[in-house]
Symmetry: C2
Subunit: 419 residues, 2 copies
């Protein structure tokens, strides 16, 4: 009997072999494979929608809520969007084979640092089946093999999509096992995956905090992740009031359910009396529930009180914690203490306040007079995004194709030996 | 009663606070601190040697062998070398604050990717006390706080050195707790350290494979490491015989006990008959024990037989495994299967063989007509080295100051919001 352990080991070994072959593909070959995958996704629309209908039916029986069913649902437009996503990746520059640095040593050795694929990437995700196509495209474009593990509620949909990608890719020369989907819903598969040292080079968990914590606790291979986004906007004493108003509204209300939305507003005490009432009025009009500290509530009566659980909270909703701070330093201290190292903004006319904020706030992206909502691969101009990292090793902030590569040193000599 | 857990948590919290202050130091301030540390190391030579004498005495009683005692031993010359090492680091460029990339988005947002410290680095090492000074210097120069945990046999020496570094640094403005040494020999301290998510940004274990495996299995924070160095030299069919001879000798014999020394020689079957006897003669003259596969032994009678345990072996000694391969592809396949992704060389006159080797061998450093012994921060021109990584995430190969930094995105706008 094949155990789960053996099954995943076989997948890991097959992925390592695929990765060895993937480094040999040219940019053109990779792009042809992506086009083939897109075509086959569209060709198999009927089969994919049928698999998705079965997932949806099972989800309804299992009592998934409306938001979860919506995330799970596919339709012709969503399948076309996946296919178009694959085609869009062909237009991006190949991240592999870039010369990152080159130099010559006094002994004549020529050293080149060049970008190469990571090897095998495991993506562990939750309900959205489009991740299967999006992640595959980015891994392939960066010449990595991928092992996908989706949520059990989307298993049929994910398998149907993966089969389309495999078939469409194979027709254009995709090495076997370059794209593999874990076929079991057994939770132990995740543990097996993240402990396959020597076979998996990177694990990227995408989903809720409990999924990510489980991965980190079990992992023996490197993990890049973000647990959550507790983003701040700090309105400094020299902020432009109109700018503060429009950035705060945008950071909170434009799409509150995402990781780069603001969760806490900090405002300097010397301007809180004049600016905070306007901000609160504007946010209340957008339906935002405000939770303030004592000073904020003295300025804007009727605000709910915030407690210690509010400062580290990721609401992902139309709720905002509000704190009045005595200084720039206090704002920085609050962000470093309660934030999630994701994205934080200062609204100020003072260049020196900005420099201090940019230096001392320990987050992936720091904004001066702009909304935190720009922390995103597309908004940064990366063309595509595989995720956002609040870690500090290897990749920080939005991760595009370059972040799916590592490097090697290639050193050419003429017989040099070390003395 | 303070538990070990509490004690390490306090160290972690203090290190986080120190890291926040370290980002504010200028390059000049950091260099003055390094000079102060060097001076105090020399001032305290007597105390350090006394502590070391106590360690040596305890080590003799505990039955440490001569090599271990030698690694542990300090003397005035070794203390001066540590101090000179600190001074040398002042001459290197500051790795923090470099603009890695800058661009402007169509909406006018200006994005800069700048290098910043990692934050808090934990170094877990074995017997050589000089690591205390060397690692501290590199962490400080890169504005990181450091928590050191050395081997129990060197605890008194390490504490004496750390106290000198702390006192010398403090006199020049080093923030408190920037350099901390774990004061207990309790093994559980390592587990506590490597599970301090949110306080430790990177763990670097330096020592034997069992130490490193224990760290990886327990860690919840990122680890960069190399388990071992199983390096290969492949003598291709179009190799220059004289060059092959001198590189093979250098890679094996110049310093056999280090991770970038060759452990396995691969040679193409079409030249094995002519070149291998010369190589074996030369290596035997250096005292190397040869262990060959069947074909090698048919060419060079008297060689010991190699078995499956020899191919992945890191001898760190005057022992060499020898295998005759039918092709370049077979050599690449052997290296990827048995190697440790460290350093591998090809000796060939063929540029196409080199390109294939460089592309397909999945190691940190790949050499063409040069010895594997050059994989070293000093030889690469990095000025200093904190370790060598055979991982692929964040840093690969020799790690210098730049590898102790991460980056952040600083984004400046004029009121931009996302639509």
């Amino acid at each position: 009997m094949t155990t789960l352990h053996d099954e995943l080991l076989m997948m890991g070994n097959a992925a390592v072999e695929a990765a060895r072959q993937l480094v040999r593909l040219s940019s053109d070959q990779k792009n042809r494979i992506l086009i083939g995958m897109a075509r086959e996704l569209e060709n198999r629309q009927g089969a994919i929608l049928a698999a998705n209908a079965a997932d949806l039916e099972a989800g309804r029986v299992a009592g998934l809520n409306a938001a979860m069913l919506d995330r799970l649902q596919l339709n012709p437009a969503r399948i076309k969007a996946m296919a178009d996503g694959l085609r869009a990746i062909t237009q991006l520059p190949d991240p592999v084979g870039r010369t990152l640095r080159r130099w010559t040593r006094p002994n004549g050795l020529k050293i080149r640092k060049i970008s190469v694929p990571l090897g095998v990437i495991a993506i562990i995700f939750e309900s959205r089946p489009n991740v299967t196509a999006d992640a595959t495209a980015l891994c392939l474009k960066s010449s990595n093999a991928v092992i996908l593990r989706g949520g059990k509620e989307a298993l049929r949909s994910n398998l149907a999509i993966a089969e389309a990608l495999q078939a469409g890719g194979a027709a254009e020369g995709l090495p076997p096992h370059s794209v593999q989907m874990v076929r079991t819903a057994d939770r132990d598969a995740v543990r097996e995956l993240v402990q396959m040292e020597g076979r998996i080079d990177l694990v990227m968990p995408r989903g809720g905090e409990s999924l990510i914590r489980a991965v980190v606790e079990q992992a023996r291979v490197p993990v890049i992740k973000h647990y959550k986004g507790v983003c701040h906007v700090y309105v400094d004493k020299s902020a432009d009031p109109q700018m503060a108003l429009s950035i705060v509204e945008n950071a909170k209300c434009q799409r509150p359910g995402v990781c780069n939305a603001m969760e806490t507003l900090l405002i300097h005490q010397s301007v809180a009396g004049t600016i905070l009432p306007h901000i609160c009025k504007r946010l209340s009009a957008c339906g935002v529930e405000l939770r303030g500290d004592e000073i904020a509530r003295s300025i804007v009566p009727g605000m709910k009180p915030a407690d210690e659980t509010d400062w580290p909270a990721e609401y992902l909703d139309l709720i905002l914690a509000v704190k009045v701070v005595p200084s720039l330093e206090a704002a920085i201290e609050h962000i470093n203490r309660y934030g999630s190292r994701h994205s934080d903004a200062i609204i100020t006319k003072s260049a020196s306040a900005w420099r201090r904020f940019a230096r001392d706030v320990d987050s992936a992206a720091i904004y001066w007079n702009a909304s935190t909502r720009f922390t995103d691969g597309g908004e940064f101009g990366f063309g595509a995004e595989i995720g956002i990292s609040t870690d500090k090793l290897h990749a920080r902030g939005p991760m595009g194709l370059e972040e799916l590569t590592t490097y090697k040193y290639v050193v050419t000599g003429t017989g040099q030996v070390r003395s």
